[in-house]
């Protein structure tokens, strides 16, 4: 494990959903916690997200989705990472997900899912525990 480098995170908004309040708060939170942050901006296709993640050489992708298209968009990002042999990048999701969708997302390779009301400190702690710079 490379101890020199800080954890790099891509915060991304896949799909057409414009709700970016959460994503922007999370981006600031990660930055203030000492991670390196890249924010994709809105309206990215899964292909664009994966391309940015590889280009920016990130260790984790945080996907934000609040308009109901998560069951397509989030697994699609994981699938594309696999195709590009970049599935050592940790993927987690945040947003509005009905309870019964959460196991489906995890089965599809989303490592953790954060729903509204999760304290920011809990999210940062999770990243510290589960994500380290890729070798």
């Amino acid at each position: 494990m490379n101890k020199e480098r800080r954890v790099r995170i891509l915060v991304a908004k896949p799909g057409l959903d414009g709700h970016d309040r959460g994503a922007r708060i999370i981006a600031r939170t990660y930055r203030d916690a000492g991670f390196e942050v890249v924010y994709s901006g809105l309206h990215q296709t899964p292909e664009e997200v994966v391309q940015a993640a590889i280009q920016e050489d990130v260790d984790m992708i945080g996907l934000s989705s609040l308009a109901g298209a998560h069951l397509y968009l989030l697994p699609r990002v994981v699938e594309l990472l696999r195709e590009k042999n970049a599935d050592d990048i940790v993927v987690c999701g945040g947003g509005i997900f009905p309870q019964e969708d959460i196991p489906k997302l995890k089965d599809a390779g989303i490592k953790e899912v954060f729903t509204p009301g999760t304290p920011l400190t809990e999210i940062v702690d999770w990243v510290r525990k589960n994500v380290s710079p890729r070798g």
């Binding site: 922007r24 981006a27 600031r28 109901g68």
Partner: protein, 558 residues
């Protein structure tokens, strides 16, 4: 309002009372170090005539229906007619939403309000690769006029008004509505309703965009001009603070940025050569009703007074209707919690009450499950009943502006007006709202406020019941509405059928004509209406807009 002698008496007594208060708190301290609104405005322990000592009743408050309309725009307010109960609805296919509309009308709803799915909002057809997974998820999917015809089938659109929450593609969806009405033999001069059509707040907060700010302003001004001349009962812009607040702004920011957007639209229409009093009466507003009860009531009262003053003093409007700030309200979606979802009914009730005490013209109350998915019929009915209980059981609609004259509410109203005018001055100094948006100014102000509020929740400085306090271990399950996963495929197939049946030569001609019109300066509405009547799809039209006007991309600032 107060004479000097009585103010002196109040001052003496208040001094004594504050000492008494302090003595009590030495024994038992106040429960908080600092009392503040949800927007973090500090609130004192008591408000007295001293807080509004120079209050000028005729100038600042006056009577309902009288300038500056602090107490309401109509003389009779809810004594004459209750607010319009307008529940935002849209799900799945046009047929699904048509069924929901019929249900709501049968349950006593008095106006329709349409939610579109993300592809429709962003100007993409269902078969676009960018639309994958989104069809019908957060509203109804509309690809062509055929869908619009099904959506309003059997509904009395000559009697009931329809609101459509649509922005980048507003001109197209409005054209479809007009075309649908005319195909049913209803004249465009008779139909009434609202298109949101407020792109400035999209760049600031809601973030459905298509073209850059300047061409977006051209499209909007085309609709304002066309409405003024051809569809006189239509509100062509709903200048919206709702989404600004949902994005995390304070109440003052919501107020200031919304009115600054309004100023920009008026400026654009005046530049087009329209007479202020010809179009200003059709401008309408849309606000959020958030958690802080009194702050919200003060915001609505301040908004009416500010807009009246802006229209009269800044724009020299003469028709009284130009001075009216008429507004729709939606309770705050962002205040709802997935945890203990039944608590959302109570939150929504309080927010709805604030909107009514603030004098709203129409209201949407959120359903308890709206934080999880599109509401079920049962949840939507409870939300509608909430309004009916406030209207017909609580007695709050018996008198007009019942909180007018409250020292606290009048002081808050005045403070919010002052603080919002300071923001408007800053935006004026930047060269207006379009320039301010290009500098990301409102976007960053909101991001700062949103981040601060989140940190206050995390540190428990602000309470969210069921989330950072009074947490239950057990989850109360609620039924969540599911959207048919096969809908996407069905909708694509259906639109392909529409494309096969239409006269494709005529579609091609209409689209070419539209492309040429976009290059010129003539109003685009007549040619958009002609194009949709040929069953051109939404994206066939937006592709032309993107091609001619360019594409706006999120600057991605945080």
């Amino acid at each position: 309002m107060f004479n000097k002698k009585s103010l002196e008496d109040v001052a003496t007594e208040e001094k004594q009372w504050q000492k008494l208060f302090k003595d009590y708190t030495l024994k038992a301290p106040e429960r908080l170090k600092r009392f503040s609104t949800v927007s973090d405005k500090a609130i004192k322990n008591i408000y007295t005539p001293l807080d509004v000592e120079d209050l000028d009743y005729p100038k600042e408050i006056a009577f309902p229906g009288e300038y500056p309309f602090t107490r309401g725009v109509q003389p009779t307010m809810y004594r004459g007619k209750l607010w319009t109960m307008r529940m935002f609805a849209g799900l799945g296919s046009a047929k699904d939403t048509n069924e929901r509309f019929h249900l709501l009308v049968n349950e006593g709803q008095t106006g329709l309000s349409t939610a579109f799915d993300m592809p429709t909002l962003m100007g993409y057809d269902t078969d676009s690769p960018r639309s994958r997974g989104e069809c019908g998820k957060c509203g109804v999917a509309i690809d062509s006029l055929k869908d619009m015809e099904i959506l309003f089938d059997g509904l009395p659109i000559d009697k009931i008004t329809t609101s459509m929450t649509i922005n980048p593609a507003a001109s197209i969806l409005w054209a479809m509505y007009i075309a649908m009405a005319e195909k049913r033999g209803i004249n465009r001069r008779i139909i009434g309703g609202t298109i949101q059509n407020d792109m400035l707040k999209e760049f600031i907060a809601q973030k459905t965009f298509m073209c850059p700010p300047k061409p977006s302003m051209r499209l909007i001004t085309d609709t304002v001009e066309f409405g003024t001349n051809e569809v006189p009962r239509w509100n062509t812009i709903s200048i919206s603070g709702y989404h600004i607040r949902e994005a995390g702004s304070t109440a003052v920011q919501e107020l200031a940025f919304t009115l600054a957007d309004g100023i920009a639209y008026v400026d654009a229409a005046l530049e087009r050569g329209l007479d202020i009093d010809a179009f200003a009466p059709r401008l309408s507003f849309f606000f959020n009703s958030h958690l802080d009860f009194f702050e919200e009531i003060a915001k609505f009262r301040a908004a009416r007074r500010m807009w009246a003053r802006i229209m009269k003093e800044r724009f020299k409007a003469k028709d009284e209707r130009s001075l009216w700030l008429r507004f729709h309200t939606q309770t705050a979606g962002c205040s709802l919690t997935a945890q203990q979802p039944y608590n959302n009914v109570i939150r929504t009730s309080l927010q709805a009450l604030a909107a009514v005490l603030g004098g709203t013209q129409s209201l949407h109350t959120n359903s308890l499950d709206e934080v999880l998915a599109i509401p079920t019929e049962e949840a939507a009915t409870i939300a509608l009943r909430t309004q009916q209980i406030i209207a017909e059981e609580s007695g709050v609609a018996n008198t007009i502006d019942p909180l007018g004259g409250s020292f606290f509410v009048e002081r808050l109203t005045r403070d919010m007006e002052e603080e919002a005018f300071e923001y408007i001055k800053k935006i004026d100094d930047m060269g207006g709202m379009v320039a301010a948006i290009e500098r990301n100014y409102p976007q960053m102000e909101i991001a700062d406020a949103a981040y601060k509020y989140q940190l206050q929740i995390d540190s428990q400085e602000k309470t969210v019941v069921g989330v950072n306090k009074y947490i239950s271990e057990e989850d109360i399950p609620v039924e969540v509405l599911q959207i048919d996963e096969e809908l996407e495929e069905k909708q694509i197939k259906w639109t392909n059928e529409v494309k096969n049946k239409r006269d494709n030569n005529r579609v091609k001609e209409a689209l070419e004509k539209l492309g040429e019109a976009c290059q010129g300066d003539d109003n685009l509405m007549p040619v958009i209406i002609e194009t949709v009547k040929e069953y051109a799809t939404e994206q066939e039209i937006t592709d032309i807009f993107r091609d001619v006007f360019g594409i706006y991309r999120d600057p991605g600032v945080y």
